[in-house]
Amino acid sequence: MVKVTVDMDVCQNHGQCVFAAPDIFRIDEDGRLAYVASPDAALRDDAEDAADVCPLQAIRVEG
């Protein structure tokens, strides 16, 4: 399993992670970021891609 954490104090809702990894990240109805904290291991590359494209570098991927 992969562990994903987003520093919500840093996140500024750019939404780039949603394009990179739509199975992990989405923007909810209030325009705020929601995400799966323990996505399937098969989504590791997507999670890494999402962390790469975050302009605030707010996403961490572990495990």
Partner: protein, 399 residues
């Protein structure tokens, strides 16, 4: 040469992503990253925003590094002086020679300077050190003159104004950022800056600098304690000049697979790369947006590995969707596609006369939507993002 590994020149966003993508594509050999700055790769956008405002510590700007690059060799504080792309060697500033099998050029750009002598204390914003030096001068009441109204000029103006400085922007164009977002949205952007106290002298050039400020082409003298030069950039390509046959007129000319001058073992990524993007025709262009180093690194890494391992490469050309954002005051400007290449802009939503509401413009080339740009809050940016799928559609035929 076998075993010499891959050399990456430039240890910033593009260089780091290239190393990570080489690993992701299966390269297990040596990777050496040369960077003339003393720092590990850090993020530049906050340098004109949070870091300049003193809201974020410089230490918070380090770029995340994938675990896969833990074993790369970092040669920081080490400028590459020249490269011989035929012999496949680099010569470092200290004279040492470094052979390589494959090369990634990721040397970015540096600020262009005004061709005028003198003036009050002068600043540019490209590095951590630049940002710290300017931040120290942005005290309330300081008169800040920003020359240039591109995105760094506008961001610095907003940050300085927020810090309580008296800010004036001078630039020859009709409106700030007009080249990137077109006349209408640029005018709205200026109005919002003016509503927050930034003054503009658009349509003017500084023709002389004095210790007290600047003289404009209409004879006006502007008093300033601090001068910020934000007049564009120059690609860092001098280290390649010794290799004959390369086109370095504006960055490094690459083919559709990011190969330098058609050479099999050398690729370029990020701000320094000039390449054709089939989304927008055959003309090669350089794009100085944060998203481009990542996109080009992925493609360039595969191109280079195919050459080094004698396998066939992905036949599709590199075709990233350009996107940029800019934060000015509490406004976010968000763009997808290439508004600059449009022949017509259309207001898609919002009221351009309002001082604060969200604005969304579509940019068309003929009938085709080739860009969108939004100004306002998160909802405006989200509205722009909804056009992304349409902008991703490649035109026919693909070259």
């Amino acid at each position: 040469m076998a075993g010499a590994g891959i050399a990456v020149v430039g240890a910033s966003l593009g260089g780091l992503r290239a190393a990570e993508q080489l690993r992701a594509a299966g390269w297990r050999g040596t990777i050496t990253l040369f960077g003339d700055e003393p720092h590990l790769p850090y993020n530049r956008p906050p340098l004109s925003k949070e870091v300049l405002a003193g809201e974020a510590p410089a230490s918070g700007t380090q770029l995340r590094r994938r675990p896969s690059v833990e074993d790369v060799e970092w040669r920081l504080g080490t400028a590459v002086a020249t490269a011989d792309l035929t012999a496949r060697t680099l010569t470092l500033a200290d004279g040492r020679v470094h052979p390589y099998e494959g090369l990634v050029a990721a040397t970015g750009v540096r600020p262009r300077r005004l061709p005028l002598p003198g003036g009050p204390p002068r600043h540019v914003v490209r590095t951590l050190e630049d940002s710290a030096a300017l931040a120290a001068e942005l005290v309330a009441g300081a008169r800040v003159l920003v020359i240039g109204s591109g995105f760094i000029g506008c961001e610095v103006a907003a940050t300085a104004r927020t810090a309580g400085c008296e800010v004036t922007v001078v630039a020859p164009e009709s409106e700030p950022m007009v080249l990137a977002i077109g006349e209408d949205l640029a005018r709205a952007l200026r109005h919002r800056h003016e509503a927050r106290g930034v003054r503009f002298r658009m349509g003017h050039l500084a023709t002389a600098l004095t210790p007290r400020g600047a003289v404009l082409d209409d004879g006006t003298e502007l008093d300033a304690d601090v001068l910020v030069e934000a007049v564009g950039s120059l690609p860092n390509t001098e280290w390649l000049a010794a290799t004959p046959g390369l086109d370095l007129t504006d960055g490094i000319l690459c083919d559709a697979h990011l190969r330098i001058g058609g050479l099999p073992h050398a690729v370029a990524v990020g701000d320094v790369a000039r390449f054709p993007n089939p989304r927008y025709g055959p003309l090669p262009r350089r794009v100085e947006h944060w998203s481009v180093p990542g996109d080009t690194a992925r493609h360039a890494a595969r191109t280079l590995l195919a050459a080094l391992t004698d396998t066939s490469r992905d036949p599709a050309p590199c075709a990233p969707l350009p996107s940029f954002w800019s934060d000015q005051f509490t406004l976010r400007l968000q763009s997808f596609g290439q508004p600059a290449l449009a022949d017509r802009a259309e207001l898609l939503s919002g009221d351009p006369e309002s001082a604060d509401g969200d604005l969304l413009y579509g940019y068309y080339l003929g009938e085709r939507l080739i860009g969108v740009a939004a100004l306002g809050g998160p909802a405006a940016a989200a509205a722009a993002a909804r056009h992304r799928a349409e902008l991703m559609t490649l035109p026919e035929p693909v070259v």
